[in-house]
Structures are given as structure tokens and as C-alpha cells.
Amino acid sequence: MAAPRIIVVGGGLAGLSAVIKIAEAGGTVDLFSIVPVKRSHSVCAQGGINAAKNLKGEGDTAARHFDDTIYGGDFLANQTPVKAMCEAAPAIIDLLDRMGVPFNRTPEGLLDFRRFGGTLYHRTAFAGATTGQQLLYALDEQVRRHEAAGKVRKFEGWEFLSAVLDSRGAARGITALNLRSMELRSFPSEAIILATGGIGAIFGKSTNSVVCTGSAQSAVFQQGAFYANGEFIQVHPTCIPGEDKLRLMSESARGEGGRLWVPRTPKDPRPFNQIPESERFYFLEDWFPKYGNLIPRDVGTRAIHKVVYEMGLGIDGQPMVYLDLTHIDRATLDRKLGGILEIYEKFVGEDPCDVPMKIFPGMHYTMGGLWVDYNQMTNIRGIFAAGECEYQYHGANRLGANSLVSCIFGGFRAGPNALHYTHGLECPDGDCGDASELARQADINSRLLHNKGTENPFKLWRELGETMTKHATVIRYNKGLRQADEKIVELLDRYRNVNLADRSQWANTSFAFARQLYNMLQLSRTVVLGALLRDESRGAHYKPEFPNRNDEQFLKTTKASFAGEAAGPRFEYEEVDTQYIKPRLRSYDATN
């Protein structure tokens, strides 16, 4: 019998991890990716990857890592998978090290570790400030090795459109669009792993890459998959503001001693170096003496909002604060943070070794995602999910440097579990729904290409981004969330009148984008309505009208399901697994 064929969609860390495990176990994989996998968004991760290796004599343990992660996520994450991830993390670092990731080293030749937000331990291994790039390349190289051995076929430049489901609702393959020839095709498989990343694009501007639209998640959501905790969106405290995108300025800048401050005098006109220490407000160190600048991201982002919008202390009255590294010597900065300082200098034109950076929070990470069980399988049999596109490891707020480990761990689980699922899978009857799914997709394509409306899809997208950023990021009000949903419904209506400026059948990017846009709009509603229904504050989800966490009512996973285009998402709630650590009040402002 031929080896079972599994389709992996997405070639970032999670997807590649799954591919490697399947190939190693004797399966064969078709790997689909919009971009050449080496250009996936994981490449943007900067600061590092967490594992309690305890190489600094601090007594760090997997149990501490587990506790920090659960506490950092405000107790919303199911504890069993998080515990397993934290226990597996040290071996994952060792593996990456063996694969040749150029991690920074101690003088003795061992792995170096730095501190990150939400922990008091040096737990983060790093390769300069381009850790994601280095990890992605290491896995890309291993996949190329399996490709050379004939175990992996790559389909780069193909975009996932939908799952093919058989009469019993189980996955039997995918449909995909070739982004050059615009060919629509179906690809049979016995299981699918989605590893399609975050949904930054629905916020217009974010730290995410252009491909991070959530389109694939949304497509299977519309086919019956649950989407969980969609309302939990991480806004990273330190980004370089920009018109086209918000460029991440890694938490590692603070891990290496970077300090946030603003002048104590509103709109102080003096340049930074003429403002004496006594007239600088190091607000994080002041408000959070124990963690200082290394509080978790949701806490840091709200603090910056308070300084800027409530206290009016933004630099020059603008929504910006200083992230200052100028007290650290240049050689250390180059060795440990080189990559990100170069980004700042290239895009802003100032050298952060000489001048403090000006930063502001920006949408960064999607804690929510496809609902999966502890085997990484969604509620659609045969569809698995791993990495940022699923919801499982970060609860209401992700700790810095936990995403890389969750991607790899999730992929390492999804791969073998998908392979296991295919064992003993009954031979499908007929064409397993292939023809009808292809016909459905061909119909959508044809309608889109021949639509004679007036709406430009890129303009609709900008309106979506503005609405989402305004109402569904740092501070949320029910009135605003309702307005946002009304706006999305309006955009969905206007989408019917979408007009492609390009109707050609060769490398037509407007067409591909318009298809993504519809899925973005549908998924946006789960974010906004999920937030509307959650009348409490927890982790990244903050409502001034409901400032406290309400465990009695909301220590629950939000599960959205799709009830059709007219009805939109429907919501139900599921108990959270808290069997190891009893939920306690989350607060980082203790003094010792």
C-alpha cells in the first residue's frame, strides 16, 4: 500500500515542523504555500525562543515556564497542552541547535539565554535578533533534505481555497489556486494540516506579513470548523509606526536592558539628550518595580496607552514613547540585537545606539484561532491545525518568545497525529466530494471575475482595517464593537459590488486578494462579536466598562461557528482545563 499522503498548508515554522515529522515517520507530504516557504512570516520573529534550560543557575524549571505561561495568559489556556509544550521545549532547543541554528553562545560555548517579558528567568535562547529567520531556515533546510529524498513535494505559489469534505464530513483533500496560471485544482489527501499563521491583515496595519490574512482559517470556519477565542488579539507594545505597516521592535530590546520613558513635561520641546534623568518618566519601572520594562505585552501596551492618551505625555504630543538603548555599548547591541537595530535605522533613518527609538503599540499576534483538540485536530475530522492559526497555547495573552516554541511543538504534534489518523481510514466512496467542491470554487471565481460593480477591494480592506484597529484592539467598548460589526456587515454587502481592475487570467493579484478579502470579512465578525459578548477584562481583552476578570462567567473558551452568510457567527462556550494550576488574580505591580 502506498504511504498515506498528507497535505500541509503553510510553510512557516509550524508547517515545516509537521512536514519533517511526517517525512521522518515514512509518510509523504504535499506542502502548499502562497510564498516560497523560506519567505514565510516566521522569518519576522526576532527576539528568541523560550525553554527552561536553566543554564544560568537560576533554578528555572519547566514547571516555572508552565506557570508563567498560564499566568501570563490570564488562565484562559487549557493547561494540559501548555504543560506538555513547556516540558518539551528544552529538547526542541537542543534539536534546533543540532540543526545548525546559530544561537548566541556563552564564552564556554553553551547556549546563551536572555530575559523576556512576563518572567523573572533568563529563559530565551536567541540568534541575534533574527531568531525566527534562523529557525525557519533550519527547518527549511531539513525539509529540502526530505524533498531531495522524494518524501516531500512543494506547491509554492498555490493558495489554499477550501477543504474537500466527503459525505460524512471528513477531509479528503483541498482545492487550491495557482497564483500564476490562476488554475483551480483539487488535491486529494487523507488528512490536512493547516499551519497558516495569524490574521494581522484584518487590522489593516499590523506587524504581520502580507500573507497573514486568516483566509484559510476563515474558509474552513465557513465549512464548519469552530474558531476559538477570536477576540484575543495581541497588541505589541513596541512597534515602529508606519503608513504601510507597523514594524516590530522586539521585546528583546528591553530584555537586553532597553528602557521605556517619556518626558515628565507634556510636549517637552527639548531633544532627548537635554532632558535630565530627573525629568524623565520611566513609567514601566515606576508602576511595575518587580518586572520593570519586562511586563507582559498586554500590560505594557495598556501602560503606553495610559501615558499617551490619559496623561498626555506622548513625545511632542504624538502617540509615541521612547525605547532607549543609548546607555548600552554599541558592541553588545550589535552582537545581541543587530538585526532589529538595522531595521530601525533603515526605515526611520536614525541609529538607535545614538538616539532613543520612538515606538507605539501595534497589532501583532492572534491568540485565538481554529479550535483543536489535544491532538491538534479541529472538529472537522482529518483537518488538523498548528501554529498561530490555532488557539491552544497562549490563552488570553501570549508571552514573548513562546510563539516559536508553540509553532514547533504544535507542528511536531500535528504531523504524527495526522499520520496516525490516516491509519485504518476507510476507503472513500465515489469521488469524496471532490467534484462538487471544485464546482463551488469555480462558481465563486467566475462570479468574482465577471462582477460588474464599483467597489475596489483594496479600499474595502482599508476600511475594514481602520474599523478593526479602532474598535477591536487595546481598549474595547460594547458600543464601538457593535458599530464595528455593523461596519463589517456593510462591507460584506458592498463586497457584492466588488470590481476587479484586473480580469486577466495570469498572475492576477487583485483576484487572489479579493478572494482573501471575503474570508477576512467573515473572520472579522468572530473577533468583534466574540469581544462584544465577553463582558469582562482578561489578558489582551480589556473593557473599561468591565475592568475585572470574571471567572464565574467567562473562565471559558469562546467557540464560534458559522451559521451562514446572513446569520454570521454563532457562539458557544467551553470549560477551560485548569487541573494543574488554580486560577489566581493576575497582577504584575508587586514590589518584590
Binding site: 519567505r39 519576522c44 537542543d94 546559530p102
Partner: protein, 249 residues
Amino acid sequence: MANKSVAFEIKRQASPDAPAVWESFQLGWYPGMNVVSAMMEIAANPVTADGRPTTPITYDCNCMEEICGSCAMRINGKARIACSALVENLEQPIRVEPLTKFPLVRDLQVDRSVLFENLMAVKAWVPVDGTYDLGSGPRVYPQEQEANYPLSNCISCCCCMDVCPQFNELTGFVGAATIAQVKLFNNHPTGKVFKEDRLRALAGDGGIQECGFAQNCVDTCPKQIPLTDAISDVSRDVIIQKAKDFLRG
């Protein structure tokens, strides 16, 4: 300042067989505007400078922070990454063309898969036994890490190949990026097990001897990778390997 406008000339080609034409665009300038964000503006309002409706431009881009390597193109004649090409630093009209040495797909999009094929041919990976837990990796001293890390920063943008006079169909030269990866993996304590294979792969036609040492690559590399040093080092190793293979018969 908000009213300042920027002039672009963009080379368009609807398909590999279609004729190339230049289109002009006038766009409103804003601080921090770069060549990719300019093309996003065109997508939202696809109209040329003389008011004629046109199609949005096809180009590759992803991260927008010069780390994914997607958006390499020729800007005012120079091969470079478009997202970090800030409009305020460019002479106008800003002339944008696709890379010149790779098969054209459409407009500014080209097919650079040859680099990934080359990386496969030289076994640019560390052959680990497996992904199960085998304990920690080999010790690496900071001095070694600091030497190898820059090589590992290659973003596969292919700018070094586009500007290389020797990178063409006639020579079949692999190009600087691949050679730098050979050095990286030959330096690795486990990766070096394939050192001889890699050097032999670079010994024949299209191999390292095709390099004419024009040094355009190192001048162009957006990540300042020491490409010419890598070529020198690997070139020496290839010659030694050839001699060894000759003596072994």
C-alpha cells in the same frame, strides 16, 4: 508636505510573452513611503499619471521589513529590496523594473526558484540523525557563532546573482548566495560531513571557477554578507578537493 507628489515609472509586462511597456504614475507622498507601499497605493487606485485606468501591479512582497527577501527588483537601475527603498532617498522619476536575470512572470514578478534548486544541489543542510531528543548540540564558541551568523542571514533575494556579470545561461554559474551557504555548512561541526560533496558540486561547469571576481555581489547584498570572502575561502577548498580527487585517481 502632505501635498508633495512622487513620480514613478514602472515597467509592465502582462505575461512572459507579452511586450514590455512603461507606465507613469503620480502618487501622493507621505513620510516613510517606500517602493512597495507605493505599489499598494496604485492597487487601491489603479490609474496612470495621464488618468488612464490600468491594472494593479504584480510583484512579490511579504514581510515589508527586509527580512523575507521577496521584493527584490531594480530601482533606478539598482538591484535592491523594494520595501526598504524609501521614496525620499530616491531620485525621481523612480524607475522600477524586474530583476533582469530571472524568468519573468508578470510586471515586477520573476521566478527565482533556481536558487532553491542550487541549495538542494549543494546539500545546504545539516544531516541530523532525527528530530527525537538526542541531547544538546555540539559546542560552538562565540567567535565561531559570530563568523557564521552573517552567512546565515542570507535572505535569498538573489540581488547578488542579478548583478553578477557571470550569472547567465552561458556559464550556468551558481552565484554567490549558494557559495556562501556552502561555506556556512562546511563550517558546521555536523554539516561538514558533506564538505567533499559540496565542494565537488562546485567544481564543475557553472561552479565556483566561473566567478570573475567583479565584486558586484558584495556591494549589492542588502544584508552585507561577506560574499567575496566566502567565494575566496570556498574556491581554495575546491582547488584542494580537486587535487585530492586527482591524486586519489
